[in-house]
Amino acid sequence: MSLGLRGASVGVALLFVVFLLLFEVLPGLLLARVFWNEGHFSLASWAEATRPLFQRALRNSLELAFYSALQGAVLGTLTAWALWSSSNPLVKRFTTGLSAVAANFAGPPLAFAFIVLLGGNGFFNLILKGLGLPTVDIYGKEGLYWVYLYFQWPLMTVLMLPAFGAIQREWLEAARSLGSSQWGFWWRVGIPVLLPSILGSYILLFANAFGAYATVYALTQGQRNLLPLQIGFQVGGDIGYNPVLASTLALMMALVLAVSLVLYRLSRRWAARMEQV
C-alpha cells in the first residue's frame, strides 16, 4: 500500500519530467540548431539576424524595456513607500490587492481599453484638447509607455512592499530623535536597505516589457519594429515562414532574458544579506 501510493506519485512525477522535456526544455534547446549547417558549426544565420533591420528591432526593444521599467520602478517604489507610511489598513489592503491583480492584466483587452481612452477621439484626449494641451498619440512611440505603465506600476508596487516591510518605522523615529532629518534617514539608511530590491525588481520589470508580445501586437497590429514582433512575423506572419531566422532572433532575445535572470538572482542574494543586517 505504502509503496503503491509512493510509486504512483513517482510515476506521475516522471511523466511530468517527460512532459517538461518535450514541451519546455527541448523546444528551447533546439533553437541552438541554427548554428549547425550540414553538420558544421556556422554563423550564417547569426549574420542574417544581425542585419540593420533586426539590430534596430533589438535596440527598440531594449529601449522600450529600459524606460518602461524605469517609469514603473519610480512610481511603484514611491507607491510602496506611500503604503508603508500609511496607517490606514483598509487603504493598504485594498491597494495591495488591486496592484497584485492589475500587474497580471495585459494583452488585447488592455490595448483596446487604452485605445478607447487615448485614441484619436479618446476620452482623455478630448479633455486634453479642451484644455488646449497636447494630446497623446497611442499608436506612436509614447503610446506603448502609457499602456505598459498599466502593469509595470502595480507590479513594482507589490514587488517593493516586502522590502519596505524590512524597514521598521521605529528606525525612522529613532533617527529623527537623534536629530536626523527625514531625508537624511532615507539617504543613509532607507535607500541602502532598499537598493538591492529596487534593482532586482527593476530587472523583472525590464524582462516583463522586453518579452511582451500580446499587448503591442494588439495595439499596433504588429506595425512596430520590435524584437518579439519580428520573431512572430518569421513564423506566423504573412511575409513568409523562416524558422531559422526566427530561431536565431529568439536566441538573441533569450540571451538578454538569461542575463536578466542571472542579475535578478544576484540582486536577490544581495537583498537577503541587506535585510539580515
Binding site: L20, L78, N104, F105, P109, P154, Y213, S247
Partner: protein, 261 residues
C-alpha cells in the same frame, strides 16, 4: 506634505487602473462618442455580441483551454510536489530551475521552438489544440508551481504524515484526510492563477494556431477591426474575469504576494 504626496500617488494609481476599464464600459454602451461624454446609451452592441455565434465559440474554446491547463497543472504538480517534499527534497532545486525556464523562454520564443519541433513526424502536433494546451500549461507553470509549492512548504507534510501514521492511518488515508485538505487552498489558488493566465493567453495562441482555433483574445483582435464597441464589451468581460479570478486567488492566501519568480 508627506500626506498630500501619499494621497496623490494612491489616487493617481487608482485612476490609472480603473479609467481605461470604465472608458471601455462606457464605449460598449455608447451610441456614438465624439464629445466629452457619449451622446447616448444603448445595449445594442452587447446584444450583437451575445447573439454572435463566433463569440460563444471562441469563449467556449477559451474555457476549454483554461480548464485543460488547470487540470493538467494540478495532475502534474500535486503528486510531484508531494513525493519531492516527502521523500526527495534534494530534487526541489531541479524543479525550481524548470519553473524558471519560461522566464528565459517566454511565449514568443517557446512558440518558435515548438513549431520547428512538431511541424513534422514523429509527433505532428503543430496547429492542434493539444500542442496549445501543453504550451500554455508550460507558460502558466510558474504561477501554479509557486502557489502549490508554498502550500506544501507551509503545511510541513512530513511532520503531518508522521503524526497521522503514529495514530494508525495508512498512507492513503494520510493523503486523503490529512495532507490534501491542508494543501487544498494553495492548490486551488494555483489552479485559479493558471486559469487566469490561460484565459488571457494570446502570444502562443496566435502563433501556434491562430484563427484555426480562435480563442477569445484572438477573436477580439479580429473583431476590433470592424466593431470597436463590441471589442470594448469583450474588454469589459475579460477585465471582470481577470479581476474576479485574481481576487479569488488572493483571498485563498493570506499574503498578497504577486507570483513572478
Amino acid at each position: 506634505m508627506t500626506r498630500l504626496l501619499r494621497r496623490l500617488l494612491l489616487l493617481t494609481l487608482g485612476l490609472y487602473l480603473f479609467l481605461p476599464i470604465l472608458a471601455s464600459l462606457a464605449y460598449s454602451l455608447a451610441t456614438s462618442w465624439t464629445t466629452l461624454l457619449p451622446e447616448g446609451y444603448t445595449l445594442k452592441h452587447w446584444a450583437n455580441l451575445l447573439e454572435n455565434q463566433r463569440f460563444w465559440l471562441s469563449l467556449g474554446r477559451t474555457a476549454l483551454l483554461s480548464f485543460s491547463v488547470v487540470a493538467l497543472s494540478i495532475f502534474f504538480l500535486v503528486p510531484t510536489l508531494f513525493v519531492v517534499r516527502m521523500y526527495y527534497p534534494k530534487v526541489a532545486g531541479v524543479l525550481e530551475f524548470l519553473t524558471l525556464w519560461p522566464f528565459v523562454f517566454p511565449g514568443v520564443i517557446l512558440a518558435v521552438g515548438l513549431i520547428s519541433l512538431y511541424s513534422g513526424p514523429p509527433l505532428q502536433l503543430a496547429q492542434t489544440p493539444f500542442l496549445l494546451i501543453a504550451a500554455v500549461t508550460v507558460i502558466s507553470l510558474p504561477y501554479a508551481y509557486r502557489a502549490v509549492d508554498n502550500a506544501f512548504a507551509a503545511a510541513d507534510i512530513k511532520t503531518l504524515a508522521e503524526a497521522a501514521r503514529s495514530l494508525g492511518a495508512d498512507d492513503a488515508k494520510t493523503l486523503a484526510w490529512v495532507i490534501l485538505p491542508t494543501v487544498l487552498p494553495g492548490v486551488l489558488s494555483g489552479g485559479v492563477l493558471a486559469f487566469s493566465a490561460a484565459f488571457g493567453e494570446f502570444a502562443l495562441t496566435q502563433l501556434l494556431i491562430g484563427t484555426l482555433w480562435e480563442t477569445l483574445p484572438v477573436y477580439q483582435v479580429q473583431l476590433a477591426r470592424t466593431d470597436g464597441n463590441g471589442s470594448a464589451a469583450i474588454t469589459v468581460l475579460s477585465f471582470l474575469a481577470a479581476w474576479g479570478l485574481g481576487f479569488w486567488a488572493l483571498s485563498l492566501r493570506k499574503d498578497a504576494k504577486v507570483s513572478v519568480i
